[in-house]
Symmetry: C2
Subunit: 99 residues, 2 copies
DNA sequence: ACTAAATATTTATATATTTGCATTTGTTTT
DNA sequence: AAAACAAATGCAAATATATAAATATTTAGT
């Protein structure tokens, strides 16, 4: 594997993380998970007022693409940011959409 | 227009900016535009080794969604980041894809 | 006005995403 | 073991996106 390929892999990884985040509901989810907060599927589905299955689906995408992690505790599954630094992306977008 | 709607509009705006950025080639373009750099379509198309029309198309998407601005000077059109702060998003992704 | 260079737009086809509903799987409690 | 709760999955219709090739537009130089 040469540098070129490594770079392409990395670009694709970055792109798929961004793509995972690039959805209004998923950004709303991420806003609720800033500063290390951990929330269950039900909590998120109630906070946002969207279907349970839709919520789970969105969380699955975010987890699959490396944006979130999850840990099961009994009946609940808690979701949280994989990299705290990703809150920066959300904050940055918040600032860029002020006009 | 109530706050709820305002919030939804903003989420959608943020999502469409992210969606515009969520593509390997477009991330590669953004990497070249960090720290206020301004490049022409041809420069980018040569830097990345992709078709001119493809390059223009990608730039058009980034501009349309509010990620880039452009200014024409003679035959050339220079593209640059609309918000300098967007470099943070790229840097953040760079850090998150180190594993 | 004509040509060449730089950029932009249009097309069509293929592929991917979103969403709700119904169902299923996993876990706790009785 | 059955009931109740939490989360995940499969499916299908509507919608959106990617890609590449061909064509069009804008501008500078002659």
């Amino acid at each position: 594997m040469n540098f070129q390929e490594m770079d392409i892999d990395r670009l694709e990884m970055a792109a798929s993380m961004l793509k995972a985040m690039a959805h209004p509901m998923r950004i709303a989810i991420l806003k609720h998970l800033e500063s290390g907060k951990k929330l269950t599927v039900t909590e998120i589905h109630e906070l946002l007022g969207i279907e349970q299955s839709t919520t789970s689906h969105h969380l699955g995408i975010l987890k699959d693409k490396g944006v979130l992690c999850s840990k099961r505790e009994g009946k609940n599954t808690f979701y949280y940011l994989k990299h705290d630094t990703l809150s920066q992306v959300i904050d940055c977008l918040h600032r860029c959409t002020c006009e």
